[in-house]
């Protein structure tokens, strides 16, 4: 009895982690996350010396005090020359562009993950959720075969093998256990994030009295779309607050059953897009939506891409 239960548990574990999966979803995530990571770091170009110089807005001594660990590494800790700072910045942007396009993805993926961690560790004090999710996705997409699909690597490989780069003869990327393993890591990591984001709100009075959403929309520094008309509809604010909390706190459970997954993911799209549009954090909204794609079925994505004119079957 115990032996059979153990064997069943092992089989379920194997099915969860080590079942082959179409890498199409990872390829799509690489393209989208790569574009957001590239943009995030390109924006630093406007104030690179101000934020990353040794004695500027974020002094290195402050950086070391606040991280309190030598393991919170950054290549900026050793750069004192402006020319080296700028050269490495352009190298980082080039790597991120190549990663986004899926060119030499194995190498540029690892470099992108390292650069993303390095920038985030140095810019503590000016970082927020966007940087956390950028690193998360860069890290996992560097591990997984994210360059197997929707990538220049794939297109070049098809050309070399003599198959038409855009024709129907070009095979789709083969299912891969590593693609599944990586996707599972992203999914479980996301569940941990939503679990803590949701349960920590249970300590806040405004999440219980239903006014938390008002606190978000009536914050002038965040606001990009005026939603203060909601003041006339307190029940609506209450409802939005309770729904947002219920969704976030139960995400880690309800995202797994098929029947509830589509609603949980649809809500994720709505909430993150809403935050992006009304609170001026579009990059954060988009990176969270990209992370949620990990729960998308490759079959559904293939259909969507085909409908949009991108041949998912050929990955060209």
């Amino acid at each position: 009895m115990i032996g059979s239960s153990f064997r069943n548990a092992c089989r379920a574990w194997d099915r969860f982690w080590f079942h082959p999966r179409d890498p199409l979803v990872l390829g799509s995530m690489r393209f989208l996350a790569g574009a957001i990571i590239l943009y995030t770091h390109a924006v630093w170009t406007f104030q690179l010396e101000g934020f990353f110089g040794p004695a500027q807005l974020l002094p290195i001594e402050h950086n070391r005090l606040i991280t309190g660990s030598l393991f919170a590494w950054s290549h900026f800790h050793w750069i004192e020359s402006w020319s080296i700072l700028w050269t490495l910045h352009w190298v980082a942007l080039l790597c991120m562009l190549m990663f986004c396009l899926g060119l030499m993805t194995r190498v540029t993926g690892i470099l992108t993950a390292l650069f993303t961690i390095s920038y985030a560790n140095r810019a503590v004090g000016a970082t927020f959720g966007l940087d956390q999710i950028n690193v998360l996705l860069a890290f996992y997409l560097a591990i997984g075969p994210s360059g197997q699909s929707l990538s220049l690597d794939r297109w070049i490989r098809s050309r070399k093998s003599g198959k038409s780069p855009s024709g129907a003869q070009s095979p789709s990327a083969p299912p891969s256990i590593l693609a599944n393993f990586t996707t599972r890591l992203i999914q479980v990591h996301l569940c941990i994030i939503y679990f803590f984001a949701g349960t920590s709100k249970l300590l806040g009075a405004t999440w219980w009295n239903g006014e938390a959403i008002w606190g978000a929309v009536a914050n002038a520094e965040y606001q990009t779309v005026d939603m203060t008309w909601l003041a006339a509809y307190p029940y609506l604010i209450n409802l939005m607050t309770h729904l947002a909390l219920a969704w976030e706190a139960t995400y880690f459970i309800l995202v797994w059953p098929r029947w509830s997954r589509k609603w949980v993911i649809a809500m994720a799209f709505a909430v993150h897009l809403g935050i992006g549009i009304t609170m001026g954090m579009m990059e954060f909204g988009l990176i969270m939506i990209t992370a949620n794609l990990a729960f998308l079925s490759p079959v559904l994505l293939r259909k969507c891409l085909s409908a949009a004119g991108v041949s998912g079957s050929t990955d060209s």
Binding site: I192, K201, G204, W214, N219
Partner: protein, 281 residues
């Protein structure tokens, strides 16, 4: 791990990549399973422990995993808009030049800081700055309760001067930090009056208060000096003054009565935190 390493199931499509066969050996799967569990445990342990309140178990576990979490930039609390969405905070500055002109500005500034993501970076600077000294401290409610008890014991024992020291050092009272000698005196006096448990908790709590306040003050000094030096260089100034200000969230009635988010009544007082090469404590 019940499947044999070489066995293929019929439902699995054929692979054309020798680098990623359709099944991995049992050893590979066991190793990767252990690595995945360890990795996700590291990911879990950070938000489990911070920010406070958190259990001693969570804090000690997080301490064990923090180096790897730091290495991967995965040590985060993930407490977005928690426990409550709060007011925002602004840094204002004034740079005086040698020719008598002055430059005034704020972090963040929608007009100056474009694109929007850059604005958000400046916004985070003012928010992190405001939070210095608060997020660094252990559970404040627990500390306050312990110190109130120690203060009561000291007053009952007639040790009024020591009780006043404790009162002045409760989190939030904002007075000078106690010296190590003062903490030792308080603990000795509590012991003399038979309050051994109170002496132990008082000495632990007072040391924690002292350490967190000193750490926060150090952060604040270093950061303010950095910001001041940056502003001087950027604007060619001689002296700098920096203020911080809270921008509160108005209630429903304020907006229904025709008020605006940026009405003066929604702003707290400007607190001068840096002037003429000196941090204001």
């Amino acid at each position: 791990m019940a499947h044999s390493g070489r066995k293929k199931t019929e439902s699995q499509p054929a692979a054309d990549s020798p680098a990623d066969p359709l099944t991995w050996s049992r050893g590979t799967r066991v190793t990767l399973s252990l690595l995945a569990v360890l990795h996700l445990f590291i990911v879990f342990s950070s938000p489990w422990a911070m920010p406070e309140p958190s259990s001693q178990l969570a804090r000690d576990t997080s301490q064990l995993t923090s180096r790897v979490a730091d290495l991967l930039y995965m040590k985060h609390g993930y407490r977005f808009f928690a426990p409550d969405p709060g007011p925002s905070h602004l840094i204002h500055f004034e740079v005086a030049r040698a020719d008598g002109t002055t430059v005034r500005g704020s972090f963040p500034d929608r007009k100056q800081h474009v694109p929007r993501l850059l604005y958000h970076r400046y916004f985070m600077i003012s928010e992190h700055f405001w939070n210095l000294g608060i997020s660094q401290q252990p559970d404040r409610s627990e500390m306050v309760a312990e110190l109130l008890q120690a203060e009561e014991y000291l007053r009952n024992a007639g040790l009024l001067r020591q009780a006043d020291w404790v009162a002045a050092n409760r989190p939030g009272n904002g007075s000078e930090s106690l010296t190590a000698d003062q903490i030792k005196t308080i603990a000795d006096d509590l012991k003399k009056s038979g309050q051994h448990h109170a002496a132990r908790t008082a000495i632990r709590t007072l040391n924690a208060v002292k350490q967190s306040r000193e750490t926060a003050d150090r952060h604040r000094d270093v950061w303010l000096n950095g910001i001041a030096s940056y502003l001087k260089k950027k604007h060619g100034g001689q002296t700098v003054r920096i203020w911080i200000q809270e921008h509160m969230i108005p209630d429903f009635d304020h907006m229904l009565d025709g008020g605006q988010l940026n009405d003066d009544s929604n702003y707290g007082p400007k607190q001068l935190v840096y002037s003429e090469d000196e941090v204001i404590q």
